[in-house]
Point group: C2
Chain length 177, copies 2
C-alpha cells in the first residue's frame, strides 16, 4: 500500500534498524499505521535494492548483528515525488463492529451492547495516551517547526476522532439495551 513511504518517513529522523522501526510503530506513527517485523524487514530489503535506502551492518557481541538503514538522496527524492503525485483517496473503515450493528435484533442486542462498551474503553485508553503525548510533547504548538507541526496536527486528529467515536458509542448505548 504505502508501507515503503511510511518507513522512509520514519527514517527522516535518522538511521534505524528494522527492530527500531517495529518499536516506532508502537508509538509515534503507530496510531494510524502498523506493520509486523516480517513485513518491515522484507520492505527494507526491497527499498535497499532500489537504492532508496542504504544499509550499514553493525556487528555486536552477545546480540545478533544489526543493520541500520538510512534514507539516500534518491530515497528522499522518491518520498518528495510521492507527496507531489499521489492522489489520496479517503480510506474505507471496514469495521466489523458496524457490520454487527447491521445485524442488530432482539437475540444479539446484549452481545452487541457489550462490544460497544469494549470499543468505548479501548478508545478511552487511546485517548488518554494521546492526551498524555500532547501535554508532554506539544505543550506549546505555536513554537513548533513545520515538521513537528505536521505531527501535532495528526495527533490532534487522533484525539478528536477518538472523542467523536466515544460520543458515538454513548449514543448507540442509549438507543439499545
Amino acid at each position: 500500500m504505502a508501507l515503503a513511504e511510511v518507513i522512509m518517513t520514519a527514517l527522516l529522523e535518522g538511521r534505524k534498524t528494522g527492530y527500531d522501526l517495529a518499536k516506532y510503530f508502537d508509538v509515534s506513527l503507530g496510531y494510524f499505521w502498523r506493520a509486523s517485523h516480517q513485513q518491515i524487514y522484507s520492505e527494507l530489503k526491497k527499498l535497499e535494492k532500489k537504492g532508496l535506502l542504504s544499509a550499514f551492518k553493525i556487528p555486536q557481541q552477545g546480540k545478533p548483528d544489526k543493520i541500520e538503514y538510512q534514507l539516500t538522496e534518491q530515497g528522499k527524492t522518491a518520498l518528495d515525488d510521492w507527496i507531489q503525485s499521489s492522489s489520496t483517496k479517503p480510506r474505507l473503515v471496514k469495521d466489523e463492529l458496524l457490520v454487527m450493528l447491521y445485524n442488530l435484533d432482539d437475540s444479539n442486542e446484549l452481545e452487541i451492547r457489550q462490544k460497544i462498551l469494549e470499543r468505548k474503553s479501548q478508545l478511552q485508553k487511546s485517548l488518554n495516551l494521546y492526551e498524555k503525548i500532547r501535554i508532554s510533547n506539544f505543550s506549546k504548538p505555536e513554537e513548533l517547526d513545520k515538521r513537528n507541526l505536521g505531527i501535532y496536527l495528526v495527533l490532534i486528529g487522533g484525539i478528536e476522532d477518538a472523542r467523536g467515536s466515544i460520543a458515538w458509542c454513548d449514543q448507540v448505548m442509549s438507543h439499545i439495551s
Copy 2:
C-alpha cells in the same frame, strides 16, 4: 477479513446475485465496506461450498444467466455465531494523507494544503449523501425496528465522523500555508 460476514449480512435482506451485491456495496454497506466483483464472486462460491449459502441459477434471454444466492439456516447460524464470538479490534486508519503530514516542510506545504482541501471536499460530498439518506429513509428514528435501528446508528456514526473530519481539515488549513 470479514467479507464473508459482510455478504451474509447483505443477504439478510433476501436473495441477491453477485452483481446485485457489487451494486449494494455502492450504497448501503458501501460507506464502510467495499469489494470488487471478482472478490465477491469468489467469496460467494466459497460460501456455497461450505453450505452457508444456496445458489439458484436463473436463465435469462438476451442477458447472461444469473445466479441468485440465499442464506441457508446454516449460514444464518454461522453469522449469529460470528457476532457472539468475534472480538472486534479497533481498525487502523492507514491514511496516506497523515503520512504526508508527517513530511510537512516548507517545500511541500502548498501541495499538502491542496490535498487537505481535496479531502475536505470529498468528505463534504459524502456528508451530503449521508444526510440525504437520513432524511429520506430515517426521518422517524423512534419508529424503527431493531435491524433498521442498527443501520441508522451506523449512518449516524458516518455523519458524525465526516463532520469531525471536515472540522479537522479546517483546523489543519488554519495552521499551514
